[in-house]
């Protein structure tokens, strides 16, 4: 767990929203930054324009303060009021401060020289006014009048100078102002142009970015379209992004894979079903084959059966009990064959048939065959395919014990072994070679090997039907220890599932 965490951190996922916000933020930031730079420039220009007339403003202030100095001096001379004096000194202070800002260097600029002249004249002027005030205080009437006149003349000069300078600077400033104004207009046009260019560039940028995002969606849509058309065998969509589209793409790929797997399974199921149907058909075929052989072997079982019944009745009338019994067994035997069209019968019925068959043979071969039954009767109702036991016993008699010199014994055993009911038919005949057993089990027995004496249903047929019926290869086993050691044919009927197998079989 601890190891996985750093991996997760490296694996940063950007959602579409984040990406879109990033793109828009980026373009907006650029637009904003450029706009800000432009605005700053504009503001600078505007403040420059504001500054254009500042020199005029300063000169106007200078002029008005000068006027106040002159006026307050005149007022003092008129009234000698302390208020006027106070205001004179205040204005003088202010004026001195203002002329302090004027140029005092000799430089190659007419305006600057005028400034210097104004400054010098102002200093002289203030000297004169100071003297005037002093003379007035000292009641030196003659002197203060002369001094006042002088001050008035200088005041006049200064005024003219300031006025002229103001005019000159106004001209210059107006020129500057117009220059600034025109460049401001230009800059507006340029700003708009730049903003338009950036806006277009931004749109292109957004287009490119969003296409990058949308491209996987388009691919996914194409793939989905193909799937919708039923083409499941498509190339998986490459997962390029780690956003929601990536997740959807992954899910889509998974879905396509799952669909392929499911289709495979369904195909297998269909194959299985068809194979089972095939099995049933083969089974039916075999049964039909068995029955056909009967019909070929016996001209007319019904006729034979009726004839035998008539014979049995005749024997009874004549009091020949043994004959009657014999014919009766024969009739039973054939009736089983005729009547029993069912594919599935009880063990009991099969055993009865075997009894009849043995009886007939014993009469025929004058009691040569010893038939021993050891049957667990609880399994007598066990369902098995019809015409199974009789052919096996016929086989045992024909190939096992017919030509032996000792007494032939055939044993029929029904018992339980684990989950199976074992139906075992044993003889003490000549036995079978392993090659023969293998041939029989693998259906390689040829027709010529089958005796003409048989009722026609061969072991091969029996084995096939048993295998098909129980869907199991190991349902029958043939064992023989050696020559003259007898043969055992064992049928293992499963108890568990027996019912379901049979039911399955019947329902088909």
């Amino acid at each position: 767990m601890m190891r996985k965490q750093p991996n997760k951190k490296i694996d940063i996922r950007f959602s579409i929203q984040t990406k879109l916000i990033a793109v828009f933020l980026f373009t907006s930031c650029i637009l904003l930054a450029v706009n800000m730079i432009m605005n700053q420039n504009m503001n600078k220009m505007i403040s420059e324009i504001d500054k254009v007339y500042i020199s005029n403003v300063n000169l106007n202030e200078l002029q008005s303060v000068l006027k106040q100095v002159q006026e307050s001096m005149s007022e003092y001379l008129n009234t000698k009021s302390s208020d006027a004096m106070e205001s004179y000194y205040k204005n003088e202070d202010k004026y001195i401060r203002l002329i302090g800002g004027l140029n005092e260097q000799i430089v190659n600029d007419d305006s600057k020289i005028i400034e210097k002249n104004i400054k010098n004249m102002s200093l002289n002027y203030l000297e004169v006014t100071d003297k005037t005030i002093e003379y007035k205080r000292g009641r030196n009437v003659e002197k203060y009048r002369v001094s006042y006149e002088q001050a008035a003349i200088i005041y006049d000069y200064i005024n003219t100078y300031i006025y002229s300078l103001n005019n000159e600077q106004f001209k210059e400033n107006t020129k500057n102002y117009q220059l600034l104004l025109s460049s401001l207009k230009y800059s507006e046009v340029i700003n708009t142009g730049i903003l338009i260019v950036i806006a277009i560039a931004n749109i292109i940028l957004i287009l490119l970015f969003t296409r990058e995002m949308i491209n996987p969606i388009i691919k996914l849509a194409e793939a989905a379209d193909q799937v919708a058309k039923g083409q499941f065998d498509i190339e998986l969509v490459k997962v390029e992004s780690k956003d929601e589209i990536g997740v959807v793409t992954k899910a889509f790929n998974q879905m396509v894979l799952s669909i392929q797997v499911y289709i495979e399974q369904i195909k297998k199921n269909i194959e299985l079903q068809s194979s089972m149907k095939e099995k049933a058909l083969i089974m039916e075929n075999h049964l039909k084959d068995a029955r056909l052989r009967y019909l070929q072997a016996q001209i007319n079982p019904h006729f034979l059966f009726n004839t035998l019944n008539a014979g049995a009745q005749l024997a009874m009338l004549e009091g020949a009990d043994r004959t009657y019994l014999y014919i009766q067994h024969m009739a039973e035997f054939f009736r089983y064959n005729v009547q029993n069209n069912k594919e599935c019968v009880t063990l009991r019925e099969e055993i009865e048939l075997v009894d009849s068959y043995i009886y007939i043979l014993n009469v025929r071969f004058s009691g040569e065959i010893k038939f021993v039954k050891k049957i667990d009767e609880t399994y007598l109702d066990l369902k098995i395919p019809s015409m199974i036991l009789q052919p096996i016993i016929e086989n045992s008699i024909n190939y096992g014990i017919r030509n032996i010199e000792w007494e032939g014994v055939i044993e029929l055993l029904v018992f339980r072994e684990d989950n199976h009911v074992c139906i075992s038919i044993r003889d003490n005949g000549i036995g079978m070679s392993k090659e023969l057993i293998e041939k029989i089990m693998n259906h390689r027995l040829k027709d010529k090997d089958i005796s003409k004496d048989s009722n026609g249903v061969g072991l091969d047929n029996v084995i096939n039907r048993l295998r098909l019926f129980f869907s199991c290869q190991d349902v029958i086993e043939i064992t023989s220890v050696g020559k003259d050691m007898g043969t055992e044919v064992a049928i293992y009927v499963p108890i568990e599932g027996e019912k379901s197998n049979v039911q399955n079989y019947v329902s088909r």
């Binding site: 600029d109 007419d110 002249n117 003349i153 800059s187």
Partner: protein
């Protein structure tokens, strides 16, 4: 896929880089452009050339091209010594008199004054005041003899009169002649009187021909606006008053006389002897409408003013009188002046 190449990471990076570069270039160039278009003269940022001294240049008629030329040559000379020469009254809203301008110069505490003098008492007093305040004063072209000015830079007016007189003699030869001298009524100006005396003395040298020349002087009130031009026209309008030779002692009257002679179809009848060399006057001489003109070497005049002031400032004393040359320009030698003028105007 077609778009795959277009949208690879590399392409995106390039697109971004190009995009940013376009923006930077655009913004940069526009800012530079605006900065350049904002090349407005700002008083705080402009570098000025500092000077050591500040002289004032005061003349009556600042618009006169002669004085302008003198001022320019003086200014050029001043530059050599790191002196700023201010043309007083220029760019002023009020037309001050010389005396007022001198007073302003004194109040402005200049380091020296170059002034077109006259013999008025007020000017003389002001010059004395300036000298008292340690401001050296130099009169130019016309003197203020009563004052304590440091020096006078000008032409020898009597000499100038003699040149005029000789030119009259050349024109007149044996004939009887009416000669009119146009003078300023500005009587304080003594120059014209001296010139007149010079002319008269030259003509009277030959006592045998005393009655041949009828020399008269007409005072023009050049203080009244356009007075000169009107007076000159009056002379031409009255057939009887038209003289044979007309001597003009300043630029305006010369030009006016020339124009009037052309307008009243008196070219050839009236010989105009002018003063100063403007383009118009030189061209007129070339066309022989004006007979000749006397040119004062304004370069020398301006140069001497500065030199004299410097000399006084450096040594404390200077020669009382410095003389500049005068040249007579006739149709024979006007060619070189025309070329020279072209060169200077260039």
């Amino acid at each position: 896929m077609k778009s795959k190449n277009l949208l690879s990471n590399k392409t995106m990076v390039w697109v971004l880089v190009i995009f940013l570069m376009i923006i930077i270039v655009l913004t940069g160039t526009s800012i530079v452009y605006l900065k350049n278009s904002l090349n407005v003269k700002q008083y705080d940022t402009v570098e000025y050339k500092p000077y050591n001294k500040h002289y004032a240049f005061i003349v009556d008629d600042k618009t006169d091209t002669f004085w302008d030329a003198v001022y320019k040559s003086a200014k050029a000379e001043g530059e050599k010594y790191n002196i700023f020469l201010e043309q007083s009254g220029k760019n002023l809203a009020v037309n001050y008199t010389k005396a007022q301008l001198l007073e302003i110069a004194i109040q402005s505490k200049v380091d020296g004054v170059i002034i077109e003098g006259d013999d008025s008492k007020s000017l003389s007093d002001l010059i004395n005041t300036a000298v008292q305040k340690q401001i050296p004063v130099i009169t130019i072209l016309s003197d203020c003899t009563t004052s304590e000015r440091q020096s006078f830079v000008g032409v020898n007016s009597y000499n100038m009169g003699q040149v005029y007189g000789e030119q009259v003699l050349k024109i007149a030869k044996e004939k009887e002649m009416d000669i009119l001298v146009l003078m300023n009524s500005n009587t304080n100006n003594t120059i014209h009187n001296i010139i007149y005396a010079g002319i008269r003395d030259t003509l009277m040298k030959d006592s045998t021909k005393e009655d041949q020349y009828h020399l008269t002087a007409l005072a023009i009130n050049n203080k009244s606006t356009f007075g000169t031009e009107e007076t000159v026209r009056d002379i031409f309008m009255n057939e009887n008053s038209i003289p044979d030779i007309m001597i003009c002692l300043d630029e305006v009257s010369t030009t006016s006389a020339y124009q009037a002679a052309v307008d009243y179809n008196k070219v050839g009848e009236v010989d105009i002897i002018g003063c100063y060399t403007s383009d118009t006057i030189l061209t007129a001489i070339d066309r022989e409408v004006i007979n000749s003109t006397i040119s004062i070497d304004y370069n020398e005049l301006g140069k001497y003013c500065i030199d004299t002031l410097n000399e006084y400032n450096n040594t404390g004393h200077v020669s009382e009188y410095v003389s500049a040359n005068i040249n007579l320009i006739t149709s024979e030698n006007v060619g070189e002046y025309l070329i020279y003028d072209e060169e200077t105007t260039k």
